[in-house]
């Protein structure tokens, strides 16, 4: 019973901190993983949009809609997250589209993410620009050499990115984290139980022996294990039990001796009491062989008087009694 209770507490002490730390670490890890997944998804979508914009630039310039459509189909088949895409011209007219229907609500001069709608869809709008080349370094048309370095807007790429894949991955991570936490708890508990087994047994044994000693079983002893860290304590308890046992025996022996002596004195006194008056008197005086042996109401008073008369009168009285004793015995 004690052993089980102690074992439960030991397990709790070992598993609870493990569980708390594992849960905290899992929360931090899941949060971090979620952010990383979201960032990776955004980066991947932007990379796809840029790649699409670069590839679409010439087709947009040449007005080749068939090539643009082929480009969109090839891209949409590759990516699971991207559920819709479209290419618009510079005026915002949709030229080609694939997947879900995409609109161009707010064309911008740079890549823009539009927040998730009720379906968990994000939209990325990326302008398609031509990269300028310097083709005349003599500035024939004015002060500056052409308009090199400035971009020329050709149109827009719009991607619709779904949250479904991200949520699926996040859930997988959650399940994985839960499983890991459970495994950590079980492993921690088993490890704690294994490692604390020796100590639990030892302490349980000590508690049991101390309880038996308390109940009077002074012969109870612990079987000490020299390998156990609690070996000195076990030895100490054994020594303590030994001393308690010895003290108990000594006390008993003294009590027995005192009892025997008292009984002997009693027998002697009774024997003398059964003799003649003279003998009784002699017995009486024998009692006064030493003043401390005077007993009874008379003797007590006589003894007290003799001690008080340790000075002048008392000394005489005592010496008289001593003389009587020497004369008769």
């Amino acid at each position: 019973m004690i052993r089980d209770k102690f074992r439960r507490r030991m397990l709790l002490a070992a598993v609870l901190p493990t569980m708390i730390f594992t849960a905290l670490l899992s929360l931090v890890w899941i949060n971090w993983i979620h952010q990383e997944l979201e960032t990776a998804r955004q980066t991947r979508a932007e990379a796809i949009a840029r790649q699409l914009a670069t590839a679409a630039e010439f087709h947009l310039f040449s007005g080749n809609l068939a090539a643009l459509q082929t480009l969109l189909k090839a891209t949409s088949m590759e990516e699971r997250d991207i559920v819709g895409m479209a290419i618009f011209d510079r005026r915002g007219v949709r030229l080609v589209a694939a997947g879900e229907v995409v609109g161009l609500a707010n064309p911008a001069a740079h890549a823009v993410w539009v927040g998730a709608d009720h379906d968990g869809r994000h939209r990325l709008v990326l302008p398609i620009r031509t990269v300028s080349l310097v083709i005349d370094d003599l500035a024939a048309d004015g002060a500056a050499p052409d308009d090199a370095g400035t971009d020329h807007l050709l149109g827009y790429v719009v991607l619709v990115v779904s949250d479904a894949s991200l949520i699926e991955k996040r859930n997988t991570v959650l399940y994985l984290a839960g499983l890991l936490m459970l495994l950590a708890m079980v492993a921690g508990g088993l490890l704690a139980a294994f490692m604390s087994q020796g100590i639990v047994n030892s302490i349980s044994g000590m508690i049991s022996v101390v309880r038996r000693i308390g109940q009077g079983d002074l012969a109870a002893r612990i079987d000490p294990d020299p390998e156990c860290v609690l070996y000195p304590l076990e030895e100490g308890i054994n020594r303590m039990a030994e001393k308690v046992s010895l003290s108990q025996e000594d006390l008993k022996r003294r009590i027995d001796e005192a009892t025997s002596e008292l009984q002997a004195q009693k027998r002697t006194a009774e024997h003398e009491a059964r003799a003649d008056p003279l003998t009784r008197l002699l017995g009486f005086f024998r009692h006064f062989h030493h003043p401390s042996h005077i007993s009874g109401p008379f003797g007590g008073r006589l003894g007290c008087r003799a001690r008080r008369a340790g000075g002048a009168g008392g000394g005489k009285f005592a010496r008289g009694i001593q003389a009587l004793r020497h004369r008769f015995f």
Binding site: F58, F61, I135, A140, A144, D147, H152
Partner: protein, 304 residues
């Protein structure tokens, strides 16, 4: 001698002492810059060297227009903006002051001449068509179908270009467009029936923003592009015949000297020129071209 006579003599002596230095300065020439680009500075440096006897004042065009200063003997403009601004400044600069333009296109020079009564001459940047066609014959013999894309500005030379191509024993494939929106359509029209695309400077068609797609379209049709500048060749054109700012500056200085001498020569095409070849593009078309050798051959062809 009375004090009054002494004073008069002293003034005369001072005036006489000052006259040689004024004569030594020579006529004043204003050089108006459109900007601070390196090409303009290079052309002006060549001009200064050639006009050593003149008093050359080089400033941004705005300073000449906004500040009243003694009337110069001649104005030299560098670039289109300076040409247009000073050509139109009849109120501050007398209309009789002649103007020499350099680093401008043939179109800009023609437009400026039509807009003002000021005596005007200059050296334009565009290479003569005959020179470009001669380069094509030398570099890519057998490619005799010449595609040309003309816009609103360059369209006025359509007949001249067609005549030059035909007279060179080549075939023309000219597409006319109204603006940048129609470039792709125009390219499709002329590239499908061309062996070479010859470019004519026209800001509406050939600009930094359109050049990449034009070069890509031509390359996809396996048609090499004849550019009009060294930068165009670096951007991806096969080759170009062009004049450097220094060459233009020297030629403009010669024109300026003639104007200062009291003559007004007509507008000139660049006389000195170089040839640039993009070796990578040439290799892509299976050609091995040497730009120095081509330039020498062209110069030899010019000589009678």
């Amino acid at each position: 001698m009375s004090d009054g006579r002494r004073l008069v003599l002293l003034v005369l002596c001072l005036l006489l002492a000052g006259m040689p230095s004024a004569w030594a300065k020579g006529p004043t020439v204003w050089v108006a810059l459109s900007g601070e680009d390196a090409a303009g500075q290079e052309a002006v440096a060549a001009l200064r060297r050639q006009l050593a006897n003149a008093e050359v004042e080089v400033r941004p065009w705005r300073e000449f227009v906004e500040q009243r200063a003694p009337t110069p003997a001649l104005i030299v403009t560098v670039g289109t903006i300076a040409l247009n601004r000073l050509n139109a400044s009849d109120e501050t600069i007398p209309a009789k002051v002649p103007l020499v333009a350099m680093l401008v296109s043939r179109t800009a020079l023609a437009r400026a001449a039509a807009a003002s009564s000021r005596p005007l001459t200059g050296v334009y940047l565009d290479q003569p068509l005959e020179r470009q066609l001669a380069l094509l014959r030398l570099a890519v013999p057998g490619r005799d179908r010449i595609g040309v894309l003309l816009g609103p500005d360059s369209g006025r030379y359509r007949n001249a270009i067609g005549n030059a191509i035909r007279s060179g024993g080549l075939h023309e494939s000219i597409a006319m467009i109204d603006g940048a929106e129609q470039i792709a359509e125009g390219l499709r029209a002329c590239l499908s029936d061309s062996d070479v695309l010859m470019t004519i400077p026209d800001a509406e068609i050939f600009s930094g923003n359109t050049a990449r797609n034009i070069l890509l379209a031509a390359y996809r049709h396996r048609v090499p592009v004849l550019g009009y500048s060294a930068a165009f060749v670096r951007a991806g054109a096969l080759m170009a015949v062009y004049s450097t700012p220094e060459q233009i500056g020297r030629q403009a200085a010669g024109l300026a000297a003639e104007v200062l001498a009291g003559r007004l020569p007509g507008v000139q095409e660049p006389q000195e020129f170089n040839v640039a070849v993009n070796a990578n593009v040439a290799r892509a078309f299976g050609l091995i071209l040497d730009e120095d050798r081509l330039a020498q051959q062209l110069r030899r062809e010019r000589q009678p």
